[in-house]
């Protein structure tokens, strides 16, 4: 029988690693991630999880330990946040370039300075170009389901790439909610043991990801790009299959809510989408045709899905819990880029909100929607990037 567990998203991430029968976990603590690896330590210590638990001296070492273990042919897991992820940066490239299907929970936390432990997406979005697949979750159940799905995806021979499963610190990480944990045998059936494409073996020695001349390098990069393109279709297939088996489905790359006849679509990532749905319902009661679309997968970026939405919608309001200094939030940039080659691109207004854990409520989102609708009617976005609830 499936079991309903009431727990924090961090503990749930631990449950997911256990359910995925992860064999090597490299752990280094950092707020707000720490309770993920604490939960796993508890499982391993009690003997309910058969995994090698490596206590490393830094996040860089954590990633490198996972790289070594994955190259030796086992399923690996780690988790980190903010500055820990930044310290891993160099090793992240090694993981994707070596085509190793490592799955990592990233508990989103704002980058210092100034020091902050509260959430925004600046840590994981800074790792946009490392060749990692990036999922962003909206609730505790999705954290569990996405970790299982991520292994299924990454270990597919058409993919062989690592993935980050991102969840916002505190909003999810330390918040209790009921989660359905399916029977182990059903999970095993969905996620069979990892079969590596190549295994480090002392009896058949070779080195991998070794030096290549300019004659060969570009092709290896292209193959990563190809795998990212393959992932778009496969993420949707896996999501559907998972839905059929376990009852939870997330719309593949983009979770849409009341978008069918929407003039304005609120484009968000992570937990903000839940508040956006509440805002949409209220706006709909006033007769305003507004929908919500949550970008669940940021890499690969769902260009085709956004273009499809733009056939109906006249305008998109992107709400970024992120700022790329000197330009705007990444979601705004990527949305504009997705539409730029279309004949009649929709209007895009970029909003920056919720940095460093500032609350973004459904009321805030309603305000954003109403301002956007005004611009939509006049046909002109008056402010390219609006910082929401900023002190005068």
């Amino acid at each position: 029988m499936a079991q309903i567990t009431i727990d924090t998203a961090n503990h749930i991430a631990g449950y997911a690693a256990k359910a995925a029968r992860v064999k090597v976990v490299a752990a280094y603590p950092i707020t707000p991630q720490t309770t993920v690896v604490e939960k796993i330590a508890d499982f391993v210590e009690r003997g309910s999880m058969d995994a090698e638990y490596i206590r490393v001296e830094s996040e860089h070492s954590a990633m490198v330990a996972c790289i070594g273990a994955a190259a030796a042919g086992v399923r690996t897991f780690t988790a980190t946040s903010a500055h820990g992820l930044a310290l891993m940066h160099e090793a992240l490239h090694w993981a994707s370039g070596s085509r190793l299907p490592i799955v990592m929970a990233v508990v989103n936390r704002a980058m210092g300075a100034p020091w902050s432990i509260w959430p925004d997406l600046s840590d994981s979005l800074s790792q946009r170009d490392t060749g990692w697949i990036q999922f962003y979750c909206a609730d505790n159940q999705e954290v569990f389901d996405t970790i299982i799905q991520a292994y299924k995806l990454c270990e597919n021979e058409r993919i062989f790439l690592p993935a980050m499963v991102c969840l916002e610190g505190f909003i999810l990480s330390h918040t209790y909610a009921p989660v359905k944990i399916s029977d182990q045998e059903k999970i095993d059936d969905f996620l069979p043991p990892y079969k590596s494409g190549w295994i480090l073996d002392v009896n058949r020695p070779y080195s991998h990801a070794s030096l290549v001349s300019p004659e060969w390098y570009m092709e290896f990069r292209y193959m990563i790009q190809e795998a990212m393109e393959n992932a778009k279709g496969l993420i949707c297939e896996i999501d559907k299959e998972y839905g059929k088996r376990f009852g939870f489905e997330y719309g593949g790359l983009v979770e849409k809510y009341r978008c069918e006849d929407a003039d304005l679509i609120l484009l968000t990532m992570g937990t903000m989408a839940s508040d956006a749905k509440i805002a949409v319902d209220r706006l709909r009661k006033e007769g305003l045709k507004v929908g919500s679309a949550r970008v669940r997968v940021f890499r690969p970026f769902p260009v085709a899905e956004l273009r499809e939405l733009s056939e109906q919608a006249q305008m998109f309001a992107t709400i970024d819990r992120h700022i790329s200094f000197g330009l705007e939030g990444f979601l705004a940039t990527e949305a504009k880029a997705s539409f730029s080659s279309q004949k009649d691109p929709p209007l895009v207004a970029g909003f920056v909100a919720g940095l460093g854990g500032r609350d973004v409520t459904s009321e805030t989102i309603e305000k954003i929607a109403k301002r956007s609708l005004k611009w939509m009617r006049s046909g002109r976005v008056e402010k390219e990037t609006e910082w929401v609830d900023l002190r005068e």
Partner: protein, 94 residues
Amino acid sequence: MSVNPRSRKEMPLTPLSSPTVGSMGKTGSWRTFRPTVDNSRCTKCTLCWIYCPDGAITRQEDDSPKIDYDYCKGCGVCANECPVKAIEMEREEE
């Protein structure tokens, strides 16, 4: 890589290379100083064999070292590690 693929389709996902002897040619020609072993002093402790960064020292049946001068670059690590100073570094002749 010893076999070059003819097209992208034949390429592995990440470069794989198997170890071979002397893939860079006979690197012993880079040597300026040549290690020589005085077998009368050698205690067969095998430290030189352990420390040689190039694997250019083999351990013979009686545990005494044998230096492969085709690949020894003359770094002198063995001479430095030898606890009884049984290895001497001598300048190669022009």
